[in-house]
Symmetry: C2
Subunit: 223 residues, 2 copies
């Protein structure tokens, strides 16, 4: 029997790739990435290579320019990516990003007749974004099950967040067990044209610490 | 004192324009429209004219091609718009459309530091889309208030649905009281290049019935 279909949000970073490696065990994977006005293409190039590596059923990259709305260091060239942690929710937060990404995943799931969506959010070693927390995911899930024809007609949508309660080190160990080559992933908020990481931004620091704690060699290519 | 800001989802149809006319009383209006792969430009042209007519603070049209995902007669040329009502949720339903639209409205609201969003959904004289019902809007609102920095930091987002429990006739009467010229609006799912309505699709039929029941002359330009 064919495996059921699932939509996987794939940024090309460490977490989303690990989520894909887990989904792959039980689902036909439909990977969804976004060109959303990121500062660099390195992450999307990583997503493409990874989708191919994991032989997904299909990989779509939707072009949605969140930079048109502004408000984040990740999409607005006028705001600098900070190198030292800040109090509260940082300027790298992109307004409503996961809500927009999950909404598209929901739409594609409905078109595909898939009832499962994977997102690699994490609320332990993370940047403090509100849309990575379990209570947010639960609320999105409730909304999704009232929003779509598929759900209303009796086939509920499940939002899977297999990494949400893991430390970065635990995520790395799990991914390695499931065949992830982390050299292919890009986490840096300010990677250069060759996809090399800055080693200093919040995301690089969380990633570095993760490899240290996992006791695995950090394969990241630093600039 | 300045009026507070609100984001208004403006399709260019009868309902969204009425919602804008109501919001205008108490808010500085930021109108948001989408080029989402609709079959025709008539609705977007109507949105532009109406935004100008109501002198909104700003009107943005985001280019988001939902047609890339398919699955609806409104965005997929391979699916015909039906002329007779069908059982259940019709093929003109666009998967997760209001969820995607509201997610962008949420993002823009956060960037603008606005705490109010207006959407002209209606659950009385409507096509039966699940994402027009009060329980869906309530669930979106709960999710939104867990999703964003603004909300988490103590400024909740309010989703206003002033038309949700009104009949089409009541909406029309209310809009006329608030200065709407319905000749400027386009509701038809299959309008022609000149913005003239087919008069036969589900949306045209609901609109016609609304003007009849309101006892007002139907200003719609039919092909």
């Amino acid at each position: 029997m064919n495996k059921p279909k699932a939509v996987i949000l794939l940024s090309g970073g460490l977490d989303s790739v690990t989520a894909l490696s887990l989904a792959k065990e039980n689902y036909q994977c439909y990977a969804l990435s976004f060109s959303y006005g990121q500062r660099h293409d390195a992450e999307l190039n990583a997503a493409k290579n990874i989708a191919e590596y994991f032989e997904v059923a299909e990989h779509r990259i939707l072009n949605i320019d969140l930079g048109q709305l502004g408000g984040s260091a990740l999409t607005d060239q006028a705001i600098d990516v900070p190198e030292t942690p800040t109090e509260g929710i940082p300027v790298t937060y992109v307004p409503a990003r996961n809500t927009i990404f999950l909404s598209y995943a929901l739409a594609w799931a409905e078109v595909l007749n898939a009832h499962d969506i994977f997102i690699g959010v994490n609320a332990v070693d993370y940047s403090g974004y509100p849309d990575c927390r379990p209570e947010y995911i639960d609320a999105f899930s409730k909304m999704a099950n009232l929003a779509t024809k598929t759900a209303v007609e009796g086939n509920p949508i499940n939002i899977h967040t297999p990494l949400i309660k893991l430390t970065k080190a635990e995520i790395i160990k799990l991914g390695i067990e499931h065949g992830v080559d982390y050299a292919m992933t890009v986490s840096c908020y300010a990677a250069n044209d060759q996809g090399k990481a800055c080693g200093r931004c919040d995301s690089c620091q969380l990633r570095k610490k993760g490899f240290e704690e996992a006791g695995d060699q950090d394969p990241t290519r630093y600039a």
